[in-house]
């Protein structure tokens, strides 16, 4: 608009100069002068045009430079700084979970387990350098232990089908274990998680073939006991191998009812030489109470393999997830060696009452919470059944049957309120029956002395 006005002004200016200057020679009847003035006008016209074009080109250059400038964005996926060519990026995200647990009719010896807790407080820094190298760094300041690093890895993307990751990250075995913490339907993962590895340090090759129709991962890790997180160093010289393949055959099809179907199998194999760190540090209930522990002096010694068939199905508001895990491990106490095989399985379902799509990666409310405009977010109803069976050969030599349970069966129901993609309020109730145990002044005896009934709440911020 401004440019047009300037152009108009220039034209009027030229016309004015022409008018004044042309009028004089007319009176003088001087043809040469008229010709000279015409040329002068043409030259001035060209000069004006050149100036305008130069300004136009300068603007084009400025626009092109603006396109090359780094971009800063802030939204529901966190803060992001990205180079213009997107080859370099850094994103700052975070997860904060403030929980409460209330146990009903529990043993007074477990006093102190009711209360508020900072379950997770994790700043997340992720990014990309030189287009193909991704990194993730996640420390955790929540929980009962000292702050620690949960994820720290470098990933090279040769192509989506072929990627390499090295560092500390989740071992590719348990399906629910691989689900992001902020998307879990319950405050705590199921009993199956007691039998699969958590985070470990290692290297893996992985990828998504045909846009995720087939996903695979194959890695070598230091190896951790069931349900354990690794520290930042290895505890022995032996290594574990883990592999997972997961199929979503209809992921890219137009068959709506089947698009959310996925199934696969995962497993691990490794050895441990006489080391207690290779064992589970104790199986935990939904309320995160220890209901099983190996007797002091028991160590992992020999082969350890796990296998976990797993599947999920999401269609519209409905979601179903199930997995089975078997952990087969050679253990030793003194001179006695035995192979123990523990198993667990779970099925969890969900229904999004407000009509949004259920998914493995959380809910995106159609109408984020805004009461002034009558929008209330999304409500998600969830239910789960899980059970864990401890090998009978474990008792009495490797675990005390008077204190530790030989098995646990748990059911849970819950209601989650997704105010928006970033904020969620959660409530759930979980009931667990234990087989065996029940005596002793400390856990697991105090835990297994009665069924566990626990009411959870959570306020979650994730961005």
């Amino acid at each position: 608009m401004k440019k047009k006005q300037n152009m108009k002004f220039n034209r009027w200016l030229l016309a004015g100069i022409a008018g004044v200057q042309v009028s004089l020679p007319i009176f003088a009847q001087d043809a040469d002068t008229i010709e000279a003035l015409k040329q002068q006008i043409q030259q001035l016209d060209q000069k004006v045009r050149v100036l305008e074009r130069k300004r136009e080109l300068d603007q084009e250059t400025a626009d092109a430079k603006a396109k090359d400038a780094p971009k800063v964005s802030l939204g529901q996926n966190g803060f992001a700084f990205t180079s213009a060519d997107t080859n370099f990026a850094i994103k700052i995200k975070g997860v904060l979970q403030v929980d409460s647990r209330t146990f009903f009719s529990d043993n007074h010896a477990s006093a102190g387990n009711d209360g508020f807790l900072l379950r997770r407080a994790r700043p997340i820094i992720e990014g990309t350098v030189f287009r193909d190298f991704d990194f993730l760094f996640v420390p955790d300041f929540g929980g009962s232990g000292a702050p620690s690093i949960f994820d720290a890895y470098l990933n090279y993307r040769y192509r989506p089908e072929l990627q390499f990751r090295i560092g500390k990250f989740k071992t590719p075995v348990g399906l629910e274990q691989l689900q992001a913490d902020q998307n879990l339907p319950f405050n705590e993962r199921s009993l199956v998680t007691d039998l699969v590895p958590n985070r470990d340090i290692g290297a893996q090759v992985w990828g998504d073939i045909s846009g995720g129709v087939v996903s695979y991962a194959l890695g070598v890790f230091n190896g951790v006991g069931d349900g354990r997180n690794t520290s930042n160093v290895d505890f022995d010289d032996d290594k574990d191998f883990a592999a997972r393949v997961f199929f979503q055959p209809f992921k890219n099809s137009n068959k709506d009812a089947l698009r959310g179907l996925g199934a696969g199998v995962a497993g691990s194999y490794g050895t441990v030489t006489a080391n207690a760190n290779g064992l589970s540090s104790g199986f935990l209930s939904d309320g995160q109470q220890q209901f099983f522990a190996y007797t002091n002096g028991v160590v992992a010694d020999g082969k350890h393999w796990r296998l976990s068939p797993q599947a999920y199905y999401y269609f519209g508001q409905f979601g179903l997830l199930g997995e089975y895990a078997v952990s087969d491990q050679e253990v030793k106490r003194g001179a006695i060696k035995r192979t123990l095989q523990n198993t667990a399985w779970q099925v969890s379902g969900q229904w999004v009452l407000t009509g949004e799509d259920a998914s493995f990666t959380g809910i995106v409310p159609k109408h984020p919470f805004d009461p002034r405009n009558g929008d209330w977010g999304a409500l998600q109803l969830v239910a789960r059944y899980a059970q864990l069976d401890v090998d009978d050969d474990t008792f009495p030599l490797f675990a005390n049957p008077a204190a530790s349970a030989t098995g646990a069966k748990a059911w849970s129901v819950g209601l989650n309120w997704w105010l928006n993609k970033n904020v969620r309020l959660m409530t759930s109730f979980s009931h667990t029956d234990f087989e065996g145990g029940g005596t002793g002044a400390t856990a697991p005896g105090t835990v297994t002395a009665q069924p566990e009934n626990v009411f959870f709440t959570r306020v979650q911020l994730a961005f």
Partner: protein, 340 residues
């Protein structure tokens, strides 16, 4: 026993699932996207050619190929590819710009010119003058461009491949007229540069400057660009002047092999460039005022071009690498004579 049964069951399920996945993945026709990073005046050529190629490829393979085009000054486009523009093929104004991609980004093999016939140049062109109707300044040859008061429009050789051809054609003319005296050629081109009022970054921008912004007396233009301007804006507005001597421009093409491999488009990218040499590809080139290589198409379109003596970059300048280093690299002859 329990374990063996479980393993057998799981293995069975895995085999069944794998078989189901394979069975349920019919050999579907693919949707393929291809990015052709080209220089400025090829928009019309490739718009027409892309439609023809997509049709040919669909008939041959059942796959749907969508070709996206990116245009700009040739040198600028080469830099964009080096900086990460995900081109599957490049169709640039001069070989040096593809050499740079091969040298600096290693996205293209060093022997790329041997991959297709005619040094990977499926069509040629040259440099002509576009003047206003009636040729008010009486421009007939290169000498007229250095006269005082003649305003010459040409893009910037630092960013435009066409501009480098313009510059070298003028230099070659001056050499030929002055017994290969380099100093006189330098002086000639310096005078010509003095007459340039605006420096566009690409050939299409220079055409806009001359045709639409009505700046200048003469546009140094690709032959195809000049004919296109006359066709589009009318013979009553512009005329083409063919100088006594010009340069044989051989715009080259190449598959950006590393990128194409990454995108899974190697086969179609190669076929896309090969099809430029087909009867249909050559005909489309001729229709868009490029000089076809194939005899049949060349004969068909010969009458639309005026005869001109053409020198080559190799015989006068010792090839593109040498010409680039001498004239256009930082501190080269162009920098010495260009005084903005």
């Amino acid at each position: 026993m329990k374990t063996k049964t479980l393993i057998s069951s799981v293995a069975g399920v895995a085999v069944l699932v794998t078989a189901a996945v394979i069975a349920l993945q019919p050999a579907q026709a693919k949707d393929i996207k291809l990015l052709n990073v080209s220089y400025d005046p090829t928009r019309e050529l490739y718009t027409e050619y892309n439609t023809a190629f997509a049709k040919y490829w669909k008939e041959k393979t059942k796959d749907t190929v969508t070709i996206q085009q990116s245009h700009g000054g040739s040198g600028k486009q080469a830099r964009s590819v080096i900086d990460g523009l995900p081109a599957d093929v490049v169709t640039l104004a001069l070989a040096y710009d593809i050499d740079v991609i091969a040298d600096k980004a290693r996205l293209i093999p060093a022997d790329w010119q041997k991959k297709l016939s005619n040094n990977s140049s499926p069509y040629t062109s040259t440099i002509v003058f576009l003047v206003r109707k009636g040729n008010p300044k009486g421009i007939k040859d290169w000498d007229d461009l250095i006269k005082p008061g003649v305003s010459v429009v040409t893009p910037n050789p630092k960013t435009s491949g066409g501009a480098r051809w313009n510059y070298l054609a003028a230099w070659a003319y001056a050499l030929s007229k002055n017994n290969n005296d380099e100093a006189k050629a330098k002086d000639f081109v310096a005078k010509l540069i003095k007459n340039v009022p605006v420096w566009d970054s690409g050939a299409r921008g220079a055409t806009t400057t001359f045709v639409q912004r009505e700046i200048g007396d003469v546009l140094l233009a690709w032959e195809n660009e000049a004919y296109l301007a006359v066709k589009e804006f009318g013979k009553d507005k512009f005329e083409i002047v063919t100088p006594s001597l010009s340069i044989l421009a051989e715009p080259p093409v190449a598959v950006v092999e590393k990128a194409a491999k990454k995108h899974g488009t190697e086969e179609v990218a190669k076929a896309y460039l090969e099809y430029l040499y087909s009867d249909e590809g050559q005909d489309i080139a001729g229709k868009n005022f490029y000089r076809p290589r194939a005899e049949k198409a060349a004969a068909k379109y010969a009458s639309q071009f005026s005869p001109v003596k053409l020198i080559t970059i190799d015989e006068v300048f010792g090839g593109w690498r040498k010409a680039q280093k001498t004239h256009f690299d930082d501190g080269g002859v162009f920098d010495q004579i260009f005084k903005p």
